[in-house]
Symmetry: C2
Subunit: 328 residues, 2 copies
DNA sequence: ACACGATATGAGAACGATATCATATTTGAA
DNA sequence: TTCAAATATGATATCGTTCTCATATCGTGT
């Protein structure tokens, strides 16, 4: 089915059918005949031909590090809801946390192909920045802040600070299991928030009790073991993610420590896995799905209004203790 | 940048550039000049124009019920790996478990737009079947079996049967928390497997101890409460998913029961959340990511070879007890 | 020397839509 | 009544590719 066949069936020119489809002037009479023809045939315009002419693909590229992660998939759920409501479709690029893959997709989407990009980022290299600078379609970065770009991110610094403060109410010897500082959001900012809370509380920061792992449960177990070997008397641990916290808790139990009696554990992210270990992990709830929705809305604004200016959106959070909100 | 500009820079016709890009006859000399021009300009062919001409979009539509689910996102990770390796891109449609949304996307993708569909299905209505029958592009169904269609699914029946057998080694009064039979895989087949194991073991099946919930943790808690009210002496429970099992376990603990001392709990799916509750849930490991990869490969075969015949692939499983494999 | 297949090239049509332009016809305000 | 604006329509060009076809050159076996 093409627009030509519809035009013929309805006895009008193809230009009129096009006008019908794009709210131009069409008389009641022809409008009705066209409607009928389309209904009968189930005609759908070829999006490729439309794109070729209009340069609008109605496609949004979503580049992400790992789809099978609770955090990321919640963001994508939010993104998907907003995009589909606004008539956009979602082109998914799963990079498996591989920089080369990220750059590959960033390049692939560069010229044509998509009207805009949502980039769920972890670590920015100079090459990322270079490509992003040259971009012709709007980009919104999700999960990290980057100067000069529209972005939506979590308030990692204050979240880490507040939950650490809370932990220090009864903790005396704090430890820290984090991730690389190259991940500004989850690494650097959380670490700084942790350090700020210690300073404010007048608790000495012992660098040997701050270790770096990755985002996995296994990493939490392993690093907890290291920490406990260094300082058997530590009595509270901040973990950069809930996964890590679950791993750390698992090791402590194994080592015969009671939680939170002997050692307090706090996490970040409020992921489902943290919600059903016993005792329940004290954590920070981030609004991942909402941030996905916000980022998508922001992108749509930029795609549809070329005067739209870049924006930064820092999302709030909630401290969760034993399953309920303590503070915002 | 268009093919015309490249042609001009290289001093050849646009047909020659096209041949260069599609491995036709081009002399060494011109080949070199074209390569240079492309390199200098960073030219990338417009995929829309290509599609318009060739009718190949190199796009695969993936329709799924809920991206923020461990099971589904693992399948998508597998799908994504295979597709991107073979030069396809992934158009994601998240239906939020809404039949109308499923049908909407099934219709949207019908005519043009994608070269093939991967449909991660839960419940088939007659309308689904009607649309699928009329499909012109290849479809592979993931997670369910459907007569006459290519599909990849788990061996839910035997998985449920074997894990139930295991549970009955020490269990005497079994209960069952499942999901609707309209979900053939997770509902009907697991229920039948459970029933078959009871029959084989000569344990009477008490219909009042078989209840139906949904896939959530909350549902597990609630249904466990109901069951315990009906039969306080029940000593083992089969749960159709790990989420449900975690919920059931949480309620039992609350009710002062010890696991597995007083009541054994088994789940299905080996999801991360089941791996870190204490005691660890006995469950069935399904190869979700692998099944996504298999489904994607199957679809590619069907898209690229029109003589390809429909196939069914039933995936194996492993029983996991305390974190290690017991049987296959 | 000839013929034939392989190699090499470009002109022009086609894919299915929208945009531009020219041209009627109908309104409605002065 | 008149004339400009609003409404209505179709012919034709165009988007950036690939495909078909016509044509030319080259190598090689007879």
């Amino acid at each position: 089915m093409t627009i030509n066949e519809i035009a013929e069936m309805a006895g009008v020119s193809r230009a009129t059918v096009s006008r019908y489809l794009n709210q131009g002037y069409v008389s009641q009479e022809k409008r009705e005949r066209i409607r009928e023809a389309i209904e009968k045939t189930g005609y759908q315009p070829s999006s490729q031909a439309q794109t070729l002419r209009t340069k609008k693909t109605k496609l949004v590229g979503v580049i992400l590090p790992k789809i099978s992660s609770d955090t990321v998939s919640r963001m994508v759920a939010g993104i998907s809801d907003v995009l589909s409501k606004r008539g956009y479709q979602l082109l998914l690029a799963n990079t498996n946390n591989d920089t080369e893959e990220e750059l590959k997709y960033l390049n692939l989407f560069k010229d044509n192909q998509v009207d805009g990009i949502l980039f769920i980022a972890t670590i920015f290299s100079p090459r990322h920045k270079k490509i992003l600078k040259e971009y012709r379609v709007p980009v919104v970065i999700l999960g990290q802040r980057l100067d000069g770009f529209s972005c939506v991110y979590q308030d990692d610094y204050h979240a880490a600070m507040q939950i650490t403060e809370r932990m220090l109410k009864s903790g005396r010897i704090p430890a820290y299991i984090g991730v690389t500082d190259r991940d500004e959001a989850a690494g650097l900012n959380r670490r700084k928030g942790f350090a700020a809370a210690l300073e404010a509380a007048g608790v000495p920061l012992r660098p040997e009790l701050m270790v770096e792992g990755d985002f996995s449960i296994e990493s939490g177990q392993e690093k907890m073991k290291e920490l406990l070997a260094i300082e058997p008397k530590l009595d509270c641990v901040f973990c950069a993610t809930d996964n890590v916290a679950v791993g750390a808790a698992a090791y402590l139990k194994e080592a015969g420590k009671s939680i939170p009696g002997d050692v307090q554990i706090v996490g970040t992210g409020d992921t489902p896995i943290g919600r059903y270990v016993t005792p329940r992990i004290t954590t920070v709830h981030f609004f991942y799905k909402t941030s996905g929705m916000e980022a998508a809305s922001m992108l749509i604004e930029q795609m549809e209004d070329d005067r739209a200016v870049t924006k930064e959106l820092k999302m709030g959070f909630e401290i969760m203790e034993n399953g309920s909100t303590i503070s915002g």
